[in-house]
């Protein structure tokens, strides 16, 4: 059977989650690989959650937030961006591929972009194969 990646996604309620909703309304097609969790702000996503998901075998972790300047809480997404750069470095030092963790700014008007990003991320993870923590299980 073809490998279908399991993506844990976090989306802020003001932008990316609304974008995902719009993707649905517009009937945009994207693979059913992402399990989306609504959060008040992308800045609410603790690095602990990312590590938790990866350590439990998620093939990819995705965080979506508002574009810079559009954050409902003014600067939550700047914090997200700085933390996530550090987390990305950290997971690579632990031997995980960079692609296992991705973050994007997708607004509530960008339903199409949401579908495109999910399609592209799924393809990328398919090429990469399963999360190495699942090996031997």
């Amino acid at each position: 059977m073809e490998f279908s990646p399991n993506i844990v996604g976090f989306a802020c309620q003001w932008c990316t989650y609304a974008g995902a909703d719009l993707a649905g309304n517009l009937r945009c097609k994207y693979p059913p690989t992402v399990k989306l969790i609504k959060v008040p702000c992308s800045g609410r996503v603790e690095p602990e959650y990312v590590l938790d998901a990866l350590s439990k075998g998620a093939d990819g972790v995705f965080i979506g937030g508002c574009h810079f300047g559009d954050c409902h809480y003014k600067e939550g997404n700047y914090k997200t961006d700085r933390r996530m750069q550090l987390i990305s470095k950290l997971i690579q030092e632990f031997g995980f591929e960079k692609e296992r963790f991705r973050w994007e700014w997708i607004s509530g008007a960008e339903g199409k972009k949401f579908a495109e990003v999910m399609t592209e991320y799924t393809e990328q993870l398919k090429k990469l194969g399963p999360n190495p923590v699942k090996e031997g299980k």
């Binding site: 990866l54 750069q85 950290l90």
Partner: protein, 322 residues
């Protein structure tokens, strides 16, 4: 007075600094010895052998401490034996509780570690490339053995059930006294707890900006302690030194800050944290004021994990794939 508490102490992959912290209790320890009978303390203090511990009955030790991490087959074996013999097991110090300084080795493959230790260090002469072997047949008849070097550093909890944790590298003596007192009085918190105050280093730090009703401001420049002398006054984190006081147990009384060094996290995570390094990234990431500050951090700390998990890498949720 009830019977004396039967006490055991095992040093695994540690430096014996934690045991020194115990001895540092001096009069307090003498007082405690009235209530305590040492039945095992190896390999450092009492003249007992591993086989003596192996011969003891299960659950015959009331209270046992382990200091050090697990790296050798010998450590693994002895920790398991000690667990079976003990009613209450305490992981004592940063190595036992979190993997400690030796745990940083987990981002390197074994081959690289051996190459460094037995070949590349400038004081090493090893022209025949001799490396430690767990077994060696000498002269075709003497079968010599050494404990086997395992793939990764592990914490005590990775192997067996641990009842209590004590942080610190080594644990601060006042705080050891408190732990010993708690144990003797029998007033112990629920199993799995840290025997600590639960307060952060910032809470007891004289440099805390909150003491002067000042708010925290974003950090524009990241500094390392080798870049110069940290300022004598004010919060080091605000000065750009990446102090981990906000997320670390402060039973040391902010020792490092009192001598102008940033906290590196030896006290272990404050309650509620599931992953020390991830929380460190969260705290540092949210105080950095600009992209330039992020770039500066990455440049100045090329192996980020050795900053954010200096004392706790093996306890990370992510197990290293090196």
């Amino acid at each position: 007075m009830a019977d004396k508490i039967k006490f055991g102490f095992l040093l695994t992959g540690g430096c014996a600094g934690c045991e020194m912290a115990m001895v540092d209790l001096s009069e307090n320890l003498l007082g405690a010895l009235e209530h305590i009978e040492v039945v095992f303390w190896a390999p450092t203090v009492a003249d007992v052998k591993y086989k003596d511990l192996e011969a003891m009955e299960d659950n015959s030790i009331d209270l046992a401490f382990v200091d050090g991490m697990v790296r050798l087959s010998e450590h693994e074996h002895m920790v398991k034996v000690l667990r079976a013999k003990s009613k209450v097991l305490v992981a004592f110090g940063a190595c036992a509780a979190l993997g400690g300084i030796p745990g940083m080795a987990n981002v390197h493959p074994t081959g690289e570690l051996f190459q460094q230790a037995y070949k590349d260090t400038f004081s090493t002469e090893n022209p025949e490339d001799v490396y430690p072997q767990p077994e060696y047949l000498l002269d075709g008849k003497y079968n010599l053995t050494l404990p086997a070097f395992q793939d990764k550093v592990r914490t005590i909890q990775d192997l067996v059930d641990v009842d209590y944790f004590v942080g610190g590298c080594p644990p601060h003596h006042e705080f050891v006294a408190k732990a010993v007192e708690l144990i003797i009085s029998g007033n112990l918190p629920p199993k799995g707890s840290w025997l600590t105050s639960g307060k952060a280093v910032c809470d007891v730090c004289k440099r805390n900006p909150a003491n002067e009703n000042m708010e925290r401001v974003p950090v524009e420049h990241v500094k390392r302690t080798v870049d110069g002398h940290p300022e004598e006054k004010g919060c080091l984190l605000q000065h750009g030194y990446l102090c981990l006081g906000p997320i670390t147990q402060g039973d040391c009384g902010a020792s490092c800050l009192n001598v102008n060094m940033p906290c590196r996290g030896c006290g272990g995570p404050i309650p509620g944290i599931t992953d020390y390094g991830a929380k460190a990234v969260s705290a540092i990431g949210s105080i950095l004021g600009s992209q330039e500050a992020v770039d500066e951090l990455m440049e100045k700390f090329p192996t980020l994990s050795k900053l954010v998990y200096r004392y706790s890498l093996p306890a990370s949720r992510l197990k290293s794939k090196a």
